[in-house]
Chain length 340, copies 2
C-alpha cells in the first residue's frame, strides 16, 4: 500500500506523468516534447501540447534542477537596491540572462561583507550555475566558497581584482580625470566629499588626490569623508561643514551625484553661486544631474552596459568557454556641464 497517498481534497498540480497518461505515452516522451521537441513526432507533439494546455501543466523547476544537476539560475549580489547605479546594472544583467533562460536570484548585501556572506551561503543552496558580484569586499569565507565550489563568477563595476573576471571601469582613472578637469578649468582649492567609503569610492579619491599632488595642489583640508551611506541630505550637511572648515575651497569633487546634488541645493539656499563661487562635480550621472540647475558636471558610467557585458561573459563561462579576455574596461565619460 502506498505510504503517501494522502491526496488532499484539493487535487495537486498535474505532473509530467499525468499528462503522459492522458495522451497515452510515457512521461519521458512528454519531457522530450517540452525540452527537445525535434525528438518527438509532430503528431504526438501536438497531442501533448493540447493535453498540457487542458490540464494547465506547469513544469516543476525543483525536480528538473535535481535531475539535471544544474539550476538555470544565477545569483546576483549587489550592495544596494536603492541606488540606481545598481538597478541599472541589474537591468543589463536581467536582459541578457532572462533572454537565455536563466533566472536571477538578487541579493542585496547592503554594503556589508557579513550580509554578503550570509546571502551568498543561502543562495549557494540553490546551486546557482553562476555568480555576478557588484559588492565590494568579499570575506575570505566567500572567496573560499567561490573557489571551492568552482562556480563561474564575474565581478562588476571595477577592475581592481587581477585574479578574477571583471567588467567595469577604472575608478582611479575616473577620479583622476575629474580632478584634472577641475584643474584645467582653473580651480586651485579643490576639496572632495565622500560617503560610504567602499573600495570604489576610495579609488576615486585616490585618483583625485594623485592629480592634485601632481599639480602641487594637494588640499586635504577640503576633504570630508563619512562612512555612512551617500544621500542628498548628507551632501547638504557636508557643504555646511566645508564652508566652515575650508571657506577658501573653490571646487568640490563629490564621489557621488547624490552628494553633489545636495551641495547644489544647499548652495542655492546659501546664495553661493555655482560655479562662480564654487564649482561642483559629481560621479555617476544620475537622472537628475543633467537637468538640475545648474546642470551637474559628472562622470557618466556605463552601468547598463556593464551589467550586459558581465552577464554575457558569465554566459560564456557557464558554457565552459573561456572568455577572450578576463578584464573588460568599459570606460567612463566626463560630462562637463554648467556646475564647473
Amino acid at each position: 500500500m502506498p505510504i503517501r497517498k494522502s491526496a488532499p481534497t484539493q487535487s495537486k498540480r498535474p505532473t509530467l506523468a499525468d499528462i503522459a497518461a492522458r495522451v497515452g505515452v510515457s512521461s519521458i516522451t512528454v519531457s522530450r516534447a517540452i525540452s527537445s521537441p525535434q525528438l518527438v513526432s509532430e503528431e504526438l507533439r501536438s497531442r501533448i501540447d493540447i493535453a498540457i494546455a487542458e490540464l494547465g501543466y506547469i513544469p516543476n523547476r525543483a525536480a528538473r534542477a535535481l535531475a539535471r544537476a544544474h539550476s538555470d539560475s544565477v545569483a546576483v549580489l549587489i550592495p544596494s537596491l536603492s541606488n540606481t547605479v545598481f538597478t541599472d546594472v541589474l537591468a543589463g544583467v536581467h536582459d541578457v540572462l532572462h533572454a537565455n533562460g536563466y533566472r536571477t536570484l538578487i541579493g542585496n548585501t547592503r554594503y556589508s561583507p557579513e550580509e554578503e556572506e550570509n546571502i551568498f551561503r543561502a543562495y549557494l543552496e540553490h546551486s546557482p550555475d553562476g555568480v555576478l558580484l557588484a559588492s565590494c569586499d568579499q570575506t575570505p569565507m566567500v572567496q573560499q566558497l567561490l573557489q571551492h565550489t568552482r562556480i563561474p563568477v564575474v565581478h562588476m563595476m571595477d577592475l581592481s581584482d587581477p585574479q578574477s573576471c571583471c567588467v567595469g571601469l577604472n575608478q582611479f582613472d575616473a577620479g583622476y580625470a575629474m580632478a584634472r578637469h577641475l584643474l584645467q578649468r582653473g580651480y586651485r582649492r579643490i576639496g572632495a566629499l565622500g560617503a560610504q567609503l567602499d573600495p570604489r569610492v576610495l579609488q576615486r579619491l585616490d585618483g583625485y588626490r594623485t592629480a592634485l599632488q601632481e599639480a602641487g595642489l594637494a588640499f586635504p583640508k577640503g576633504e570630508i569623508l563619512e562612512a555612512i551611506p551617500s544621500s542628498i541630505g548628507l551632501g547638504v550637511g557636508m557643504l555646511g561643514r566645508i564652508v566652515e572648515q575650508a571657506p577658501e575651497c573653490d571646487a568640490l569633487f563629490c564621489c557621488n551625484d547624490d552628494l553633489a546634488l545636495g551641495v547644489l541645493f544647499e548652495a542655492q539656499r546659501r546664495q553661493i553661486r555655482v560655479p562662480e563661487q564654487l564649482a561642483v562635480a559629481g560621479f555617476n550621472d544620475l537622472a537628475a544631474s543633467a537637468w538640475s540647475s545648474p546642470s551637474l558636471t559628472t562622470i557618466a558610467t556605463p552601468r547598463y552596459d556593464i551589467g550586459h557585458a558581465a552577464a554575457t561573459m558569465l554566459l560564456q563561462k557557464m558554457r565552459g568557454e573561456t572568455p577572450p579576455e578576463s578584464h573588460i574596461d568599459l570606460g567612463f565619460s566626463l560630462m562637463a556641464r554648467e556646475s564647473t
Copy 2:
C-alpha cells in the same frame, strides 16, 4: 552496476548521505540535526556539525523543495526596478521574508501586463509559496492562474481590488487631498501632469479632478498626460508645454515627484518663481524632494511599511491563517513645503 557513475574528475558537492556516512549514522538523522536539532542527541549533533564543517556541506534546496512540496520562496512582481518607490517596498518585503526563512524571486514587469504574465508563468515553475504583486493590471490569464493554483497573494500599493488582500493607500484620496491643499492655498487654475498612466496615476488624477469639480474650478486645459515613463526630463518638457497651452495656470499637481522636480528645475531656468508665479506639487516624497530648492510639497507614501505589512500578511496566509482584515490602508501624509 550503477548506471550513472560518471563521477567527473571534479568531486561533486557532498550530500547528506556523505556526511551521514562519515559520522556513521543514517542520512535522516543528519537531516534532522539540520532542520530540527532538538530531535537529535547533543553528542550526535555536535559530531554532525563537525562533519558538515569539514566537508563543507551545503544543503540542496531543489531536493528539499521536491521532497517537501514547498519551496520557501515568494515571487514578488513589481513594475519597475529603477523607481525608488518599488525598491523601498522591496526593502520592507525583504526584511520580513528573509527573517522568516523565505527567498524572494523578484520580477520586473516593466509596467507591461504581457511581461508580467511571462514572468509570472516562469516563476510558477519554482512553486512559490506565495506571491506579492505591486504591478497594476493583471491579465485575465494571470488572474486565472492565481485562482487556479490557489497560491496566497497580497497586492501592494493600492486598495482598489475588493476581492483580494491588499496593503496600500487610497490613491484617489491622496490626489483629492493634494488638490484640496492647493485650493486652500488659494490657487485657482490648477493644472496636472501625469506620466505612465497606470491605474494608480489615473486614480490620483481622478481625485484631483473631483476636488476641482467640487470647487467649480475644473481646469482640463491645464492637464498634460503621457503614457510614457515618468522622468525628470519629461517634467522639464511638460512645463514648456504648459506655459504655451495654459499660461494662466498658477499651480501644477504632478502625479510623480520626478515630474515635479523636472518642473522645478525648468522653472528655475525660465525664471518662473515657485511658488509665487507657479506652485508645484508632487507625489511620493522621493529623497530629493525634501532638499530641493524650493523644497517640494508632495504626498509621502509609506512604502517600506507597505512592503513590510504585505509580507507579514502573506506570511499569515502561507501559514494557513486568515488575516484579521483583508485590506490594510496605511494612508499617506501631505508634506506641505516651500513649493506651494
